[in-house]
């Protein structure tokens, strides 16, 4: 069965959805992502949907599920690049995906993931900001 590739980049996982997904493919992505987060200890997931021409209630639910499941596994999810027509349709459909973080493009999405990772680590180390590099952070965020 075909699958959507998941790339690992540092502490984050990257997915670019480029095909018109049927439902099983979307469910397979949900499974693959959650198991990859658990296996790699990734702290963030970026899903680029800029090539998606529609997001219906099923795909919307899969995106919301991925965000909730990864949050439980301690990874932040950000969905980037939703097209205006898709966003308007999704809202009209009644889905505003309140639990999903969003960004305009991949670059902004990565900034968001880096920022929230930094904030989380500062909190975990009780303000010990100098310890950041212990995690091999190479995010280049100034």
């Amino acid at each position: 069965m075909e699958r959507i590739p998941i790339l690992k980049m540092g502490r984050f996982l990257l997915v670019t959805i480029q095909v018109d997904m049927h439902d099983q493919l979307a469910l397979a992505l949900q499974d693959d992502l959650t198991s990859q987060i658990a296996r790699t200890g990734a702290r963030g997931v970026l899903i680029d949907i800029s090539s998606l021409e529609i997001v219906d209630s099923f795909i919307g639910r899969v995106l919301a599920n991925i965000a909730s499941m990864s949050r439980i596994l301690d990874a932040e999810t950000v969905v980037v690049g939703m097209q205006p027509a898709v966003a308007i349709t999704l809202v009209e459909l009644g889905l505003s995906l309140p639990g999903v973080r969003t960004a305009l493009n991949v670059e902004r999405g990565m900034e968001l993931l880096h920022a929230s990772l930094r904030a989380a680590e500062l909190e975990e180390y009780d303000g010990g900001g100098e310890e950041d590099d212990a995690f091999g952070g190479h995010d280049g965020l100034s």
């Binding site: 049927h22 529609i54 099923f58 919307g60 898709v86 308007i88 009209e92 009644g94 889905l95």
Partner: protein, 134 residues
Amino acid sequence: MTVSRSDVRPIRTEAEVVAARQAVRSWAVEMKFSLIDQTKLVTAASELARNALNYGGGGQMRMEILERSPRQGLRLTFEDQGPGIADVEQALRDGFTTGSGMGLGLGGSRRLVDEFEIHSAPGEGTRVTVVKWR
């Protein structure tokens, strides 16, 4: 009002659901619908085709181009021979689901089109007709 073109697509597998919505997209592009209206139509088609497959055990989609000068419309009719719906009003309410969706399929797709009609009764299958005017 006349029908200037029509076609029927099967909806028996998930791949046919994808093919059906691609057919709706290509007709909507040909009819010069705006991008937003194309997206709304394809999304509604996706919801209704999924319903026909998942709850109706499969069926078909009829596509028709309507002419009512100066406007053109695309009419989609989804039919299945499934168990049917006992309470149509309830099924149209947001949040109603008997399956795996978010319960926005019927009520949500009604908001994406200009005309929406549903005929269903227990044991008689379900027929949903939607029209979007350009």
